[in-house]
Subunit: 341 residues, 4 copies
């Protein structure tokens, strides 16, 4: 059956597996201090235009979010996020388990708008009872968002200005960063993004790696003893090479961006197919996630021939579903799906 | 200056202080095992119609909420509450600090309506992604609510039915329980309330004690080693007598309900005063908290002669403020305030 | 029956209760901002010779330890303490519940000796695997210790030098501080003690208050938003006056030290009694706790006429027990006990 | 340079990498529900003789220990371990970070002896102050231990009897389980070990996998919603296939035990070499870790030609060092090292 369920259904780009094989019998130090980790860090620093960045490799997005957020917040602070933000919806309470509230604000197509943030922060400090409330201690956004949308350069700069005004860090969840950077609607480069936040991660799991996220502190602002913190959270792989080799490969000859283009090209063809056949979109996403409104019996029928992801009920007779492409999606599968529509 | 800022501005009913003096030189065991704690427990069991209840004395509401909620939830569960619930707004993240999310739902005049709860729980389990979400593990309500309103017997019974259907405990924050029980709109007795929940506390701090809340597990459902848990949270007073003597006094000859009547009587006169003078109420509260809408310049003027509590901005020119009466409010002060209106 | 079980068996010095009565109907702001809290802070600053100290009132020792330690440590740090330290033995895991390890070191009569500390810190940083270990982030000592012994001025200064060398704060648990300051073996003043640490608390619960500990940050080193932290831990009393009035009274005309002298005088008479009757001491404590070795059948017999505290088994036929005096112990009771020996 | 630093210096058994390549483009469900995870679980159940076991795949030992221990303990409980236990020494406070104390007991060559455990538990409950102490809520042992030693069948059965008497679970950290099972001193089978505990994990990271530990609940005693707990701790890999395929390969045709035999054979030759050359052993380990006492200048000289692991200082002129072999150690390297001795 055709599957467009998500962007982590396949293994890894074969060049990664090949490198794992080639380097397999080398004896290397553990815990992220091997030569492949060092090399990957150097290449990422260069790609981000941040020669001084500190970089850590973790195994997944929830793990990364939990550790970054709990390390940057004081005990009495929470993290501000859009109501649709992954940390508040589908991470099983990971942030609260580490002791912090997710302070949610309304979103527009998955985005926390600068006005919304500014208004919230102003109100918070204007409230004379705020010393008994959870203080906003950092801002979390996803780029692309959970709806596949992108903050423009302007929006990101505005958010960052507000964060600096209130002296709280801005953190970007880049689980699907590569798909944002590869799409035609993007008006940002990776160095520009790195300059407009305090910490971000470059997702590997959804971008052709077996697992792994590269966490970047671009501005010499890493929490002290961060690698001890990773150990404390059970996030430090003994064989750090597994992550180093993957990211070293992804950041060699720009493989990272190159393979993500496939997701965008296949998504564009699929979107065009939906449009041509008269389907309604729930919103307009420029990246690899497509949100379509299906009449329920149509959904039922389609689900017998292709796999996709239930998103939410729209009304009694319609449902929002998501089709995702990835680095591994074949144009052939897309064309077969368009045929079915 | 006249003060209606809150219901904890004075010390304690003098009979309590008297008893502290009378018993002062008795040598008593510590940690809540003295004869006054035992006697207070017996009297509370009797007042609640729960001969088997386990009862613990704590020093404050946030402390009680934090400990009860974290003791009853599994790590992967959160507590459901109205958006206006005290645990989610003015407890500085105490619940999240103990590892749990507050799952907020819309309210009606401070109340979590049974339909809202039922709909949420149904949707949660219907969502096929719910295993990555925070599970609803208990329900928290305040009686009276933060807006001074009361759940009727019917509403409480409906909430409890839903909780039992989903096998999650219902917890009632009774910081102002006495004021609810004493008002004419109340259609519940204390034993009925105790029967319609799994755990609740009887507030002392806002009801004529120096400090103290009596936590009641009416149904032999106390978490194991609960007194060790209290110690672990720093909530076990060495001189437990301080709490025991206070509650023993409050539950002797119904002093608890008797003194709270004063709050209701003075509130009723004050409400009538506002009404007569043409003030608008933000909502209709039957207990000791009165929410009035003031035009801003009127608020400014009034605040020079009487103290009250800012609640929230209504619009550019109006503000919601709260006047609270208590066991200690004098009718004379109320009349003086009505004069000023 | 005569009781020497502990130093918190009675209520409070009557002057405290009197002040509670006198001030009872004053309408005061909540949460520690009333005039009595302000006055008590000023008097304590003066008694400590720390005009800039920040002072907070909490309700008990475990609560204070938990909050101070968790507020001063980074997540990857633990607190160093003697094996006999209260935080590691009888606080039900309060420190670990807040996320931190108690790093225990051997003690001498309850004291963490400077050499032991220095040797441990040197070894820790010499160990090439220490990045996977819990870092020592502060040092906790009790003064007097759990065995009633005292650090001399020299010992305290040496400990503090070591702490400063490693840039970790020194915290003094002063649950029984008054009894240390009042005894003849003490070679320290309160201002000297305040100068030789980074944070300490002055115990009220064991020194004639109903409850309460005064936490002192003598050097402008209070963690940010500390009162929000107190709220988050459920440690902020709505009626902060209860603590303010008590400490204001205790620090008026040196009442604090005056009443603690009684504990020392009665303890000295009792010790002399034991000595005269040929009893063996487990160790020599200069303060209000007396540790005596009793032959088991003697212990059995004595326990029928006087209450004391089991401490630990010494061998098959002997037991260490503790007799405690306090501000409230009558010389008459001591003489009656000596008669019984 | 020859390296015997640890048992996780190389990548993975090549058959594992081969399987990753072969299955790479299969579209599989995420989060551990793919066919390889299911198959691996089935094979492990069979190898353990536990047809009903629940099995989860995690990425590392510290992560597994943290999650298992915090999921099985009540908030007021701690985990009992030998002083040398990995959770108390080299996991950066992971257990305390999750809220629990590690209750350490003396060990014999890395083993927690049944008598020591029984004596501790008896004393704990005999202590009349134990309600203010951390309750022992489970027992943690490593098999093999951190010193490479093994509990005999008898010792394990005795420990388990004690645990059952006190109704607390016994948890076995099997980071190096394969090396224990493969050595000649072992008098246990895997099904026997599974029968003598409540939960254990089979280490993959140190046994020829890139990463991964298989956590086994042999007795239908999995904590509720365990996979939500994994998500909450950031331990649930989106591409669970990475772990499933590795364990499926390791448990096909007993590859797991087969490759671990190499570690034992090379270790035996190495030990014989040390013995022949007159080296002193720190203790006698039957598995793949060899603890040797080196005179310091000898250590210095040797470290220029071979890498090994510093363990601890023995005295001013001697040091304990560790040589580890693994599934990947070549006999040629061992012989070269023996030449150097």
């Amino acid at each position: 059956m055709l599957s467009f369920v998500n962007d982590y259904s396949e293994g890894a780009d074969e060049r990664i597996l090949q490198r794992l094989l080639e380097t397999n019998r080398e004896q290397l130090p553990g815990y992220g201090e091997d030569r492949y980790c060092l090399s990957a860090r150097e290449k990422i620093r260069s790609a981000c235009g941040c020669p001084d960045a500190d970089i850590y490799f973790l195994t997944g997005g929830t793990q990364t979010n939990k550790i970054v957020i709990s390390s940057l917040l004081a005990p009495w602070q929470g993290v501000v996020a859009a109501e649709s933000g992954h940390i508040g919806t589908h991470e099983a309470g990971a942030i609260e388990n580490a002791g912090h509230k997710v302070l949610t604000l309304p979103h527009r197509e998955g985005k926390l708008m600068p006005d919304t943030l500014a208004q919230y922060l102003r109100s918070f400090y204007a409230d004379e009872n705020h010393s008994h409330m959870v203080f906003p201690g950092m801002v979390y956004i996803s780029w692309p968002t959970e709806y596949g949308t992108l903050y423009s350069r302007r929006e990101l700069a505005d958010l960052y200005d507000i964060c600096r005004e209130y002296q709280i860090p801005l953190y970007i969840d880049g689980a699907r960063l590569c798909y944002g950077l590869s799409c035609s609607a993007c008006d940002l480069t990776l160095p520009e993004l790195a300059a407009l936040c305090d910490v971000f991660y470059i997702g590997g799991t959804k971008a052709g790696a077996l697992c792994g996220e590269a966490l970047v502190f671009p501005k010499k602002n890493t929490p002290p003893q961060f690698s001890t913190i990773l150990k404390m959270y059970g996030a430090l792989l003994a064989k750090g090479r597994l992550l180093g080799i993957q990211f070293d490969t992804l950041f060699t000859d720009n493989l990272y961006l190159q393979i993500s283009k496939n997701a965008i090209e296949t998504a564009d063809v699929l979107k065009e197919g939906f449009r041509r056949k008269g389907y309604r979109f729930y919103l307009d996403s420029p990246t690899n996630q497509i949100f379509v409104i299906l009449e329920n019996s149509r959904m039922e029928a389609l689900s017998r021939q292709a796999a996709f992801c239930f998103w939410e009920k729209l009304d009694a007779s319609h449902t929002v579903v998501r089709f995702a492409t990835s680095w591994a999606t074949s144009m052939q599968d897309v064309e077969a799906l368009v045929q079915l529509l």
